[in-house]
């Protein structure tokens, strides 16, 4: 059985490492690590939430930015609760989006101040919509 948790010295570094199943933590490379304290980040999720917006309306959601960072955002249309599903071309794709005339949803992620960021969802369709938003802790700038 592989030794998968290493708290101590790995090569010339000290830290915590957890390797994938059947892989030795002491010798595994980056792609076989579940956790490496020498990596720049572990991709922690700050926010993962469904946001509802009424027809022809917009809504905002403020969240703590934990250190004043401008965070990464991904969003999906929530038509199937699975992510990635869209009801029309150009909607529900894998990015935040300014959109253009004719698209139904515009989602923006904005730095407000040292404690708060804001998600704004604007819906120009005649139906209520729901999206799923995922915010990474990582600084986007």
């Amino acid at each position: 059985m592989a030794d998968r948790v290493l708290l101590g010295k790995k090569s010339s570094d000290y830290g915590l490492w957890v390797s994938r199943a059947t892989t030795e933590a002491d010798t595994a490379t980056d792609k076989d690590m579940l956790m490496s304290s020498t990596s720049p980040s572990v991709g922690q999720i700050l926010l993962f939430q469904k946001i509802d917006v009424n027809a022809s309306a917009s809504t905002t959601l403020d969240y703590k930015n934990h250190g004043g960072v401008k965070t990464f955002m991904n969003w999906w249309l929530n038509s199937d609760y699975l992510g990635g599903g869209g009801v029309s071309a150009g909607i529900g794709l894998y990015s935040s989006d300014y959109g253009f005339s004719g698209l139904l949803l515009t989602v923006t992620n904005e730095y407000i101040n040292s404690t708060t960021n804001r998600i704004t969802v604007a819906n120009i369709s005649l139906q209520s919509q729901s999206i799923i938003v995922m915010i990474f802790k990582e600084a986007a700038a």
Partner: protein
């Protein structure tokens, strides 16, 4: 107070487990674990790369200083940043009738190899923008 960090045996497996606040790590299910060494992958970040496109059609930044491979083609996400706004990869409708070129979709093309990330204007035109890319320690293609 709930015990939240377990290094040892959980069920029939040995590993490292961390539960959510208020949840007892020895008894909770996967949905209440922040970290579980039973998982196949985590969103471990290998590198954070800044890319600047300056009046050019494409910009490429190597993952390693010498341009060498990191050993696999990684899963990445990218966002355009402008001031306090994190723009993601904005959409556009762009049409150049004399050139017969049009684009309905992302304003930017983002691609990666095992050694570098490239951001390009979808119309192939000279453009400017600043971007940040998260490079995950996850092979996007098995065996790459």
């Amino acid at each position: 107070m709930a015990g939240r960090v377990l290094l040892g045996k959980k069920g029939s497996n040995y590993g490292l487990y961390v539960s959510r606040p208020g949840k007892e790590v020895t008894t909770v299910g996967r949905e209440d674990l922040i970290f579980s060494s039973d998982d196949t992958r985590t969103s471990q970040v290998l590198k954070i790369i800044d890319v600047t496109l300056s009046s050019a059609a494409t910009a490429t930044v190597n993952y390693n200083g010498d341009g060498s491979s990191i050993g696999y083609i990684p899963f990445i996400i990218a966002t355009e940043v402008s001031g306090d706004e994190i723009k993601g990869l904005p959409w556009e409708y762009s049409f150049q009738p004399f050139a017969g070129v049009y684009n309905i979709g992302s304003k930017w093309k983002v691609s990666t190899t095992n050694s570098a990330v490239t951001i390009a204007d979808s119309m192939g035109a000279a453009a400017s923008g600043t971007f940040r890319v998260l490079v995950f320690a996850i092979p996007a293609i098995d065996g790459s």
